[in-house]
């Protein structure tokens, strides 16, 4: 016994680190995604999860199909107004800490669907951390977004608890002032030239 304890005392089995660093390292490398796949982006999302790209390599081993066990909500695809209260409820059910990735042009801006049925960017409904452009983005694109999210998480600090405050909807049932939503939703690019019939 004496011999063993001597060996332990002489080995480097302890270390000193910043608490933030340790926590963020753990959080960033065990992100459990909650897939919210509504369109073709979800196909690329599945490819990202499958063996060739395999986002389990980045700690996303387990896809949480229950929002209560998820860390990052990945909205993969267009979001119609009819689904807006659904994604909001999924987001509300996720425990802190939580993050959101908006995957693809439609989730981020409404994409080519500048019409009566489509939310013009899911950031009018839930707060978004990383936007992944593309139509749909390749798996490399999504992985790059995930790595950006890692970077973002590693920059957070427990000394700023407000970062992890819940942001409930306001009295009107919106998450931002109406004129801001209108501004975000304004047509851009080609849809500027779309004319309204009437």
């Amino acid at each position: 016994m004496k011999h063993v304890s001597k060996e332990i005392s002489g080995s480097p089995n302890w270390l000193v680190t910043r608490f933030d660093h340790l926590i963020n390292w753990a959080r960033a490398n065990s992100l459990w995604p909650m897939p919210f796949g509504t369109a073709c982006c979800a196909i690329e999302f599945m490819a990202t999860a499958a063996s060739r790209y395999d986002f389990a390599r980045f700690g996303m081993e387990r896809q949480a199909f229950s929002p209560r066990q998820a860390d990052v909500l990945i909205c993969a695809g267009r979001l119609p107004f009819k689904l807006a209260p659904v994604i909001r409820r999924v987001y509300d059910q996720m425990p802190q800490p939580k993050w959101v990735i908006s995957m693809g042009a439609c989730a981020s801006t409404g994409g080519i669907f500048d019409n009566y049925a489509m939310v013009q960017g899911i950031d009018t409904v839930v707060p978004v951390d990383v936007y992944v452009p593309g139509c749909p983005p390749r798996p490399e694109g999504l992985l790059y977004g995930v790595l950006m999210l890692h970077k973002k998480i590693k920059g957070e600090s427990l000394a700023l608890p407000a970062l992890r405050d819940e942001q409930p909807l306001d009295a009107k049932g919106l998450r931002m002032p109406p004129d801001e939503i209108d501004e975000i939703s304004e047509p851009f690019g080609n849809s500027v030239h779309q004319f309204r019939s009437s």
């Binding site: 807006a84 209260p85 009566y116 013009q120 919106l174 109406p178 004129d179 939503i181 209108d182 309204r196």
Partner: protein
């Protein structure tokens, strides 16, 4: 030209309007709206016709405002391998209403709801005429009508507000889940939960 058209003419006379060939070779027969149910029942039940399958119901509105809005019925006879399209013309400036064919083909239920949702056509005698694609409190009108603006009538902020305030569980009724018909077969505990209205309301509870 599908021989059913001549048979229709001899049976219903002037209730059958013009008939034409569609671009894909199918025959389109125009029917007066007030005789639609009779014509459809005849097409379904007459042995030589036997159009037993209603493939689709849809509607067409043309940019030309003088032109009628058409409700289109795609009929198929599974035993005779024959197709027929039936159209009913409605005046878009008047009341958009036509008799429901749901009593003839149960499958018309959702198809007619979709036409109602998108075009605002009322189907008289439909058992459950509610919106099906848009949510039930949708207040902007009928999206596929020509006078409907592409981006909707309300501002984006108002659209987001109304969407977020909608109850996502209000869309599904027990009829839609087909539970009502199998009600006596579901487990007692589930029946009890349904009775309490845990999800929707039973149609025969009132």
């Amino acid at each position: 030209m599908n021989p059913s058209v001549d048979a229709l003419r001899t049976t219903f006379g002037d209730a059958i309007g013009r008939a034409e060939a569609a671009r894909d070779g199918e025959t389109i027969a125009f029917v007066r709206p007030d005789r639609l149910t009779d014509v459809m029942r005849w097409l379904r039940d007459t042995p030589g016709q036997a159009y037993d399958y209603l493939v689709d119901v849809t509607a067409v509105e043309y940019r030309d405002r003088e032109r009628a809005l058409e409700v289109v019925y795609f009929l198929r006879s599974l035993e005779r391998h024959a197709d027929l399209r039936v159209k009913v013309e409605l005046d878009p400036r008047g009341e958009l209403a036509v008799d429901s064919v749901t009593p003839l083909w149960a499958g018309a239920n959702w198809l007619e709801r979709e036409v109602y949702d998108m075009f605002g056509v009322t189907f008289r005698g439909h058992p459950d005429l509610r919106r099906i694609l848009m949510w039930e409190t949708y207040a902007e009108g009928y999206p596929l009508r020509k006078d409907f603006p592409l981006r909707g009538r309300f501002s984006r902020a108002e659209q987001v507000r109304q969407a977020l305030n909608a109850n996502p569980e209000a869309h599904y009724s027990l009829e839609e889940l087909s539970i009502a018909e199998a009600f006596d077969e579901v487990p007692a505990e589930m029946r009890e939960r349904l009775r309490r209205g845990e999800r929707g309301k039973l149609p025969f509870d009132e």
